[in-house]
Each structure stands twice: as structure tokens, then as C-alpha cells.
């Protein structure tokens, strides 16, 4: 085999320079700035900046609303990940079994994935507005649903709004995963076992584990970071701040309240949380998965 090599060092750096520049400017520079903001006190315009040690962190963590937002975010992540994954899987298995009009089902189920979170929120608004909302009136008839007043009803509202879009994403990946499973394995399993339910849990699902693991990570990051627009267009934290996620709170404090120190500290706390979750997943879950 012929060795491909650049004649000078300059050429290779020339080719990777654009990539490096993008990473440095859009990834590392903001991280450095976030750290700088988190450890300084400054006004909104950047005047009067001085080093303040851990003051901003103490300020954030001593705020009872921050703890409320932290608890809600953890519940939010667990619920969204669980429901959107399981419904996505269910739909994928069903769509995979369909013989007639397969592509029509697939296309229709994929559509919501293309919708931006803020638009999802606005759409959900129509369903949950007191005046127009079909779902509002349906739930209201069942148990007096009122998300303006009741914390759990507000939870239901944002959970439905945030998982809806993600179901499509999960559906696509699960469907792709199902199609990579070799026909011969499935056929062999049909001969061995009559119950399709048992076949699924003993053969298909274990073979889908790499996809599932990937999707769990994707869903956690989605519900952690991308749902800002949904919260902002649905409950805005209603009834009284209980449905604010950590990202939403950082956004409100940083961009509405213009307190960059507090927002910077919150970003670093979030970074640590995500770090812990990710390390946990790779250490304790990934080892149990077989990649073929």
C-alpha cells in the first residue's frame, strides 16, 4: 500500500485549520468565558468586573428555587426518556411488521422530528389552552385538570409536549436498528419459540441494546438542554416555578435577569451534572451491552 504523506508540516495544518478554528471559537472560547463569568461579579454591560471566588455558586445553590428546578429536571429527564423511548420502540416494532403501506407509516411517524422545540411548544399550547384546548377539556372532564393551578397537571402538560417530538426520533433509530437484525436470526427464533412477546424480549431487544443505549444518551441530552423552547412556550414555569428546568432557569437569569455571574455558575453546575450522568452510563451500563 502506498503511504500518503504531506510534504511539509504546513500543508496538514492548513487543512485542519478551519475545523480547529470552528472548534476553538464556538466551543472552547465560550467555555472559557463561562468560567470567567462564573467566578466574577459584573453588571450586565461587563463593567465593574471583579473576581468573587465561589460567591456566585453559593448564591445559586442557596436559592430554594434552584433546588426545585434541579428536582424537576431530574424527574423530567427520567420521564421523557422512558416514555419517548418505549413509545418509539413500540411504534417501530409495529411499523416494521406492517406489510402494506410501510413507507407511508414511516414517513408520517418521522415528521414531528423535523419540528423545532419552540414550535412544538406553541403547538402543544393549542391542545392545552383553556379556551381552545382539546386535551385541556378532555383531561378537565376526567379529573378537573388545570395546569395554571396544579403542579402535577402542569407536569403532565410539559411531559406530553416534550416527549411528543422525541418519540419520532426514537422511532427512526429503533426502526433502523430493527432492520439491521439479520433475517436468519429472526427466522431461527420463530422456529424455536411460538410466543412473539417472548421472542421480542429474549432475541430482538438484546440485539437492539446498542441502539437503546445510544438513544438513552440522546434523550437525556435532549430533555436536559433542548427543551428550553418548549418550557418557554408552554408553562413558563407554571404554576409557580415548579416546571422550570435548569437550562430554562439559567436562560432566565442570564438573558432576562442579565445576571451573567449566576448564569455562568449555573452552566458549570449543569456541566458537572451531565458529566456525572455520562460517566455513570459508560461505567455501569455500557459494559453490559454487546455490540456485534
Amino acid at each position: 500500500m502506498k503511504r500518503v504523506q504531506f510534504s511539509s508540516y504546513f500543508t496538514q495544518y492548513f487543512f485542519i485549520a478551519p475545523q480547529l478554528a470552528i472548534i476553538l471559537i464556538f466551543l472552547y472560547l465560550p467555555i472559557v468565558q463561562t468560567f470567567r463569568d462564573a467566578f466574577t461579579i459584573q453588571d450586565a454591560f461587563g463593567f465593574g468586573r471583579y473576581f468573587s471566588g465561589f460567591d456566585n455558586f453559593v448564591f445559586v445553590l442557596s436559592d430554594p428555587n434552584y433546588i426545585t428546578a434541579l428536582k424537576f429536571t431530574l424527574i423530567f429527564i427520567a420521564v421523557i426518556t422512558f416514555f419517548s423511548c418505549s413509545i418509539g420502540l413500540l411504534l417501530a416494532v409495529q411499523a416494521n411488521n406492517v406489510i402494506h403501506g410501510k413507507s407511508a407509516y414511516k414517513t408520517l411517524l418521522i415528521w414531528p422530528y423535523a419540528i423545532a422545540p419552540a414550535v412544538v411548544g406553541v403547538t402543544a399550547n393549542y391542545f392545552f389552552s383553556e379556551r381552545l384546548g382539546i386535551l385541556y377539556n378532555f383531561f378537565n372532564g376526567l379529573w378537573g385538570f388545570d395546569w395554571y393551578d396544579n403542579v402535577y397537571d402542569a407536569y403532565i402538560y410539559v411531559f406530553i409536549a416534550a416527549s411528543w417530538k422525541q418519540i419520532s426520533a426514537n422511532f427512526i433509530f429503533f426502526l433502523a436498528g430493527l432492520q439491521t437484525i439479520q433475517k436468519s436470526i429472526i427466522e431461527a427464533s420463530i422456529i424455536d419459540c411460538k410466543s412473539s412477546f417472548r421472542r421480542f424480549w429474549t432475541i430482538t431487544f438484546p440485539l437492539l441494546m446498542p441502539t437503546t443505549f445510544f438513544l438513552i444518551i440522546i434523550n437525556i441530552t435532549y430533555s436536559f438542554f433542548d427543551t428550553l423552547g418548549i418550557i418557554d412556550t408552554t408553562t413558563i414555569g407554571a404554576p409557580s416555578g415548579e416546571t422550570k428546568t435548569l437550562v430554562y432557569k439559567a436562560y432566565i437569569d442570564g438573558f432576562r435577569g442579565l445576571d451573567l455571574g449566576s448564569a455562568g455558575a449555573q452552566s458549570i453546575i449543569m456541566m458537572l451534572i451531565v458529566l456525572v450522568i455520562t460517566v455513570f452510563q459508560f461505567r455501569f451500563i455500557e459494559g453490559k451491552i454487546h455490540y456485534n
Binding site: D43, F45, S52, F59, N65, D149, S240, D253, L258, S262
Partner: protein, 436 residues
Amino acid sequence: MKRLYRAFIALITVAFLSTPTISAPVELHYWHGHTGKLEAIINEIADRWNASQDESVLIPTSKGSYEDILAAFIAAYRANEHPHMVQVYDAGAAIMVAQVKNGVVYPFEDMAEKYGVDFNKDDYIPGIRNFYADSDGKMIGIPFNSSTCLMYANMDILEAAGVDIPKTYEEFEQIAPKILAAGYTPLLQSHSPWIWTENFFSRHNLLMTDGNNGYDDVPTTTLFADTPEFITHWTKVKEWKEKGWYDYKGRAWGDNQAPFIAGEAAFWLGSAASFSGMKGVVPNFTVNHIPYWSSITGGKEYPTFIGGAANWILSGKSDAEYEALMKLAEFMTSPEQQLFYHNMSGYAAVTYSATDLANEIGFYEASPYHKAVGEQLSLTGSTIPGGYRAGNWPQIREVLYENYPKMLNGEISIEEGMKRMDEGASKLLAQFAKTL
């Protein structure tokens, strides 16, 4: 393909060479927080200005809500891409006034003097003048869209229930059962921090924070739990909600306004500027002063704080641009433009010369809707300052938003809620004080 490419290059070259060299008029960029009908009114004002002279061109840009615009322009300022003039709302006044010393904001009064603009301080309605002024009374912002909270009443419902418009909350309590019995919601309001907090204090001549509402000293705490009148008010509000006299539809402005627009609620407390959106949509409504507790004021009526926003002149532009900008400011505050804006939007006229003009042409007889806002803001007799200078106020409003629903649904007592709001506000005020 090659020929096409050459033609393209030639075209670009020609385009560059033929760029006109005559001096263009000065461009004035103005960022504002109006959308919908109100944005159309701003564009109309810009068209009028651009047609009236050829030295400068006003380019207004809507940046979304008041909260969005503040963040957008601060980011732009830090990147040195800011406009000449920006509209910043009441809750941001403390931030803007504090930036005069850093040279971000140029005081209107100084600029008017420097560029020889026709400017008479005494012509501005005092409540409006003082709200956007520093503690010495020097005008910093240019008063522009001044609103205040008002009470909208659906006259058809009042007739059906056989009641009159209440002046006080005591009167409201008398008639609320009749409205409820007639099958309507008696009362809604759209902004608890603004209407039933800040303007509760102004309407009843009570101090909201220490340091004389922040005009004398940097405030360290709000006085919610220390004001028995305020606790009484919210205790009453909670009672009203339980009786069905008042309905709370979450914190979104529009959700609370919707029942009034749909003709299901008798009264709605909102902004003077809500008028433009409701004109022609809601049949037979009137605009009235906001009620007060006569038991607190002893029957006297005090003015409310100004709401809405002011225009602020930003630093870092050329002399020629500022000269043009000040001429624009003169135009925008002229009685004719004020009256146009007043009429179209429902915002108050900010100068006496504009209200004089309105009286002269019989404007208020033709459109009585517009009377309440000016009247309420021109009331006299207050011993408290005409505003509040408290930093981090947008976040303090968040604290209020989070505690009121808990107080109303009984999760915490009114007293406990007041205490929590004071604590939350104190922490945010202390955080802001560190940046001064």
C-alpha cells in the same frame, strides 16, 4: 460554463464600480419592543419622519418583547454593534440610569442642551418625567410610550348585572356577587408584579422598598411583609378567588385577557396600551382608573407609576448622528406626533402641550377611552417618589410570579409568601448592589 463564470465576474465588477458616491443621509437605528399593531404604528412614525426631512433616515427594528430587547441590545453593546436609540421598559430603568456613569447611556437632558433642541422640562407630565430621571431629577431617558395599568370594563355585562363601574375595591366587593350571579367572571388581571404589587404601592401612596424606593439609597429589601395594607389586599384577593370573584389564569398576559376579550368577564386590569388591540374587537367597553382601597387612602386617589418604556440614547456614535437623533427626538415628542401615537396606541401623551392640543381639538369628547390614562398619571398628592430604582427587578418579578400562585392556592399563607418574596428580593438586590 466558463463563459457564464466570466459574465458573473464582470457583473460584480460593474456593480462595485457603479456604487454611487453622493453622501447618503445619516442612518438612525432604533430598536424597540413593539410587535403587531404597535409595531405598525412605530413604522408609521418612521415613515412620517423620513418623509418630513432628508438629513436622516430612521430605521426602526422590532426586537420582540421588552425582556428580549434588553438582552439583545446589551449583547450588541458589548460587541459594539448597538443602535443609536433603544427602547427599554420600566423594570429596566434602574439598569439604564446606573449606566450613565459608565458612559453607556447619554442623558436626554444633556444631549438636548448640547444640540440645541427645543426642550422644556416642565412640559413633561411630572409622573412621566421623574420615572426615567436620576435621583437629582435630571431626565435620562426620553419619555415615549408611557402607559399605566387601567381597568377595562365590559358595559354590556355591567348592564346585564345592573351595576355601575366601581371606583374602589370596596365598591367592587359590593357588585361582584351580582356579576357572578349574572353568569360572568367579575375580575381578571394580567400582571401581578406590575399591577397588584408595584402599582398597589403607588396607588396607595406606600413605599415599596427601603432607601425611599431606591431614590435616596441603594435599596436592600422590599417592604412587602412590613406593609399590612399589602397583606390585606392579597388576603382579599385570595378570598375573591375562592368566591369566584377573581379568576387567575396563570402568568401569561394573554391568557388572563382572553376571557375579557371573549365577553365572559366584566372587568380586566391591564395596560393602557392594550386599548389598540381591543378596539373594534371587544364591543362596548370602557377604560377607567384602576380601583383603590378607600379604607387605605382615606378616600383619596393617588397616581400610579408609569409603565411602558422610554427611549435611551446610547454612546459611541458620531456628532452628526447625535444631531440628527436629537432632531428626531424633538419630532417624536412634538404635540402632533404625541397625539397621533396617543390616539393610535392608547399610550399616554407625555407632554402637557400634547394634552392641551388634544383638549383644543376636542379629542377626549370624541374618544373618551384615552382620558383615563392621562388623568390617572396626573393625579397629585403622593409623598412617595414617582417610581422605584431597584436593580435586578426583572428577576424580582420572577420571584413574585413564583410566590403569588402558591399564596392563592393555599400552599403557603399570605404572610409566609410575603416573607419569602422579601427574602428573595433582598438577595437579588444585594447581588445587584455588588455590581455598582
